[in-house]
């Protein structure tokens, strides 16, 4: 034990200085991005989602196509939707800083970007 103590005096800290330094591995599972140009609206992603986070939102006006929305409050980042998508229209990103102070803040993406 004493040897360990002496060695530890000269060692780098085991923890990382988080806000200044990030270490995210390249295949980390973060927020999911939807690419509308590739999507064929087959809704397989919606059907394979275990938590109901991935939802197809019907278009408001005729002639529009609707959107696929992922509620990150419900999402468990299992990536079933990404694996199910036949056209690679859903893509994983490394963005993991997804905490919000309140639900209203989550809804207001603009506010988040400002901070």
């Amino acid at each position: 034990m004493l040897r360990e103590v002496l060695r530890s005096i000269f060692k780098k800290p085991a923890t990382s200085s988080f806000p200044f330094e990030d270490h995210v591995p390249e295949n980390h599972r973060g927020k999911i991005k939807w690419i509308p140009e590739k999507c064929i609206y087959c809704r397989l992603c919606e059907r394979s989602c275990p938590t109901g986070a991935c939802k197809f939102i019907p278009p408001k006006k005729a002639g529009e196509k609707g959107t696929i929305e992922i509620d990150i409050g419900k999402c468990v980042f299992c990536y079933e939707c990404v694996l199910a998508c036949p056209k690679d229209a859903l893509e994983g990103t490394l963005d993991y800083k997804l905490a919000y102070i309140s639900k209203s803040e989550k809804a207001d993406e603009k506010l988040r970007k400002k901070n």
């Binding site: 034990m1 295949n27 599972r29 275990p50």
Partner: protein, 379 residues
């Protein structure tokens, strides 16, 4: 102590839980004490029931493995793997060898992770905070490897019906291999500390003894059974997955006390590291996952050796989703002998003894509904 001999007049009831700083999960222990000595012990489960067995009935098979990963935060692979093996057995699927090997790598790495976490908790319970810090620092290595392999530190979701969800590239395999010696070195270091340190012996030796006969009587599983000289490990006794391909020893100890349970777990870390090394070296090429949508109808039981012991899943499958799933988590078998272990021990030894079975209560909680004394339904 038999009931006649007990001096009930001078007994005090010491309630531990449902919410108590000692417990990480809500559970109620009723400890009867006479002075410093424990004279009786009772417990109640069911404060953390989440009804996962019921929810799973409304999920498809790919969703079910994700959900079953949430049964236990620490050994989540054990549950999704047991379920996958069961469904594969019913459908007679030949899982690609590569998928099986990759599942085994994460499964064994998870055992190392779980034992390191437990070692820290145990060390903290006996007031040895240095070991707590060190073992959790080493555990960080395994978590980082999980993140490299699967993309997530805790919810790994590696096992799915038909193989492994993620592939393992060569670079990550090498990284895992390069981290193994550090883990083995730490395990050796800890083995030395726990066999030699006099203070540790004072706290753990001959505390919470469960003899071989008692262990057999209570049907305990996992490291608790192996520390009481019961040579029982599902990986050897009824090999699943690819355990037949590897050479490894089942660690059995004969001390039957808290110290032996600690040593068995520390030695298992080294065995698991050995299995992972063989796994990566023998890793076959090819596919790692088969597509699976519809299941045949049938029922089966599948068992795996989770870090805490034998984990059994009984399932009845339907076409799109499971009709019934019953999970027997390892802690369920290890709680009843607590009374035998605790009788005539000191109050200060209650935390190490409860922790020595490596309890995981949220996996264990089940609810049975009784109406007028008759069993109506189990959830």
């Amino acid at each position: 102590m038999t009931d006649e001999k007990r001096d009930k007049k001078h007994e005090t009831i010491l309630p531990i839980g449902p919410f108590h700083p000692l417990l990480k999960e809500p559970e109620y222990f009723k400890v009867h004490v006479d002075g410093e000595k424990v004279t009786d012990f009772d417990f109640r489960l069911g404060f953390n029931h989440r009804g996962i067995e019921k929810i799973v009935e409304s999920k498809t098979y790919s969703m079910a493995t994700t959900l079953l990963g949430k049964v236990c935060g620490i050994c989540n692979q054990a549950h999704s793997l047991a379920f996958s093996i069961g469904v594969e057995k019913i459908n007679k699927i030949t899982v690609p060898k590569r998928g099986k090997y990759i599942r085994t790598i994460t499964f064994e790495l998870e055992r190392i992770q779980s034992h390191l976490l437990w070692l820290g908790v145990m060390a903290e319970a006996i007031g040895f905070e240095t070991v707590f810090m060190h073992s959790w620092r080493e555990r960080e290595r395994t978590n980082y490897l999980f993140e490299l392999m699967t993309g997530n530190r805790i919810a790994k979701e590696m096992s799915v019906v038909g193989g492994s969800k993620w592939d393992l590239d060569e670079k990550t395999g090498k990284k895992v291999l390069s981290e193994l010696p550090n883990l083995v070195k730490f395990a050796n270091n800890m083995e030395r500390v726990f066999t030699k340190d006099k203070l540790v012996h004072k706290r753990l030796k001959e505390v919470g003894v469960l003899s071989k006969e008692e262990a057999k009587h209570f049907d305990v599983v996992g490291p608790v059974a192996r520390a009481s000289s019961l040579d029982f490990d599902i990986r050897k006794n009824s090999p699943y997955e690819v355990y037949k391909d590897f050479e490894f020893n089942v660690i059995v100890g004969d001390g039957a006390d808290c110290l032996e349970r600690t040593l068995v777990r520390i030695r298992e870390i080294k065995e698991s590291a050995e299995i992972i090394r063989q796994c990566i070296e023998l890793l076959p090429g090819g596919e790692h996952r088969l597509k699976f949508f519809k299941s045949a109808e049938g029922k089966t039981t599948s068992r795996v050796e989770a870090p805490r012991g034998e984990n059994a899943h009984f399932m009845v499958t339907g076409e799109m989703n499971p009709v019934r799933l019953k999970i027997r988590a390892p802690t369920y078998a290890n709680i009843p002998p607590l009374k035998t272990m605790l009788l005539n021990q000191k109050i200060a030894d209650v935390p190490p003894i409860i922790i020595s079975i490596d309890p995981c209560f949220s996996c264990t909680d089940r609810i049975a509904v009784y109406k007028k004394g008759e069993l109506v339904k189990r959830v």
